[in-house]
Amino acid sequence: MSLVRWNPTRELTTWPSGLFGLQREMNKMFDTFFRGTEEDDAAFAAWSPAVDITEHEDAYVVKAELPGVNKDDVKITLESNILTIHGEKKQEKETKKENYHRVERSYGSFQRSFTLPTTVKSDKIEAQYKDGVLTVALPKAEEAKPKQIEVKVK
């Protein structure tokens, strides 16, 4: 099953750099170098959310961590079987930069794309945002027709 489109920058922080850490990083460098244009789009994003993908009896479910993101700033698009979650996390404007003691959280635009199996009902995709987690449910179908749609976040 081909469901995952991987953003390589994520790997550095999420994978423990154990015994094969160096090898993994080398592979990643080559992967990045020979990558196609779709991935280049994601390279312009400031950060990309962590994701869990699960397969249920009747649906695939994608969960993405988007803490502090306004749900109106989240866009979900489906184009030629590629599901893209993108948007922007706006920085609070209440304080000046010099008053910050520590900045660890990510701001700015984010993007993450996944190649969906062809067996998804593209017109029945639903999304929900709660407690900083976006849940996108993709019901399974016998066949799916390629088209571009925009999914409203509830």
């Binding site: 991987w6 390589p8 397969e55 249920h56 695939y60 988007l66 502090g68 910050y100 407690d131 987690v133």
Partner: protein, 129 residues
């Protein structure tokens, strides 16, 4: 996907229990200062108002956040970066904070803790008995 095999963690359902061990994650934080308070913002997606516990000791502020399983046990995990986790982080508190006035708010997966600056920071008079 072939060239990304290192990034994938395909789990069979029997492997879930092995990989679904809860791990503790330190939530990332922003800390800034206003005229009368320090503000700490922590990213704790997946937690809830009820799942978060703040504890204030004389010199320490600690934050614990529980996260429910993001998927039910019957689901087949295709890919996992989030997994099953809980949050924990602690900060040292100096004398400059008014402990009684500490307030917290949880919205969109972000915990905001406001720590008012203490009056003791200001000059005070000491009575001699």
């Amino acid at each position: 996907m072939e060239n990304n095999k290192y990034a994938l963690m395909p789990l069979s359902s029997s492997a879930i229990t092995k990989h679904q061990q809860e791990r503790t994650v330190e939530p990332v934080a922003d800390i800034y200062e206003t005229n009368d308070a320090f503000v700490v913002k922590l990213d704790m997606p997946g937690s809830s108002k009820e799942g978060i516990k703040l504890s204030i000791e004389p010199d320490r502020l600690s934050i614990r956040g529980a996260v429910g399983l993001l998927f039910n046990e019957k689901a087949n995990v295709t890919f996992s970066e989030i997994g099953w986790k809980s949050y924990y982080r602690e900060f040292n508190l100096g004398n400059g904070v008014n402990h009684e006035g500490i307030e917290a708010q949880f919205e969109n997966g972000v915990l905001t803790i406001t720590l008012p600056k203490a009056e003791s920071m200001k000059a005070r008079e000491i009575t001699i008995h």
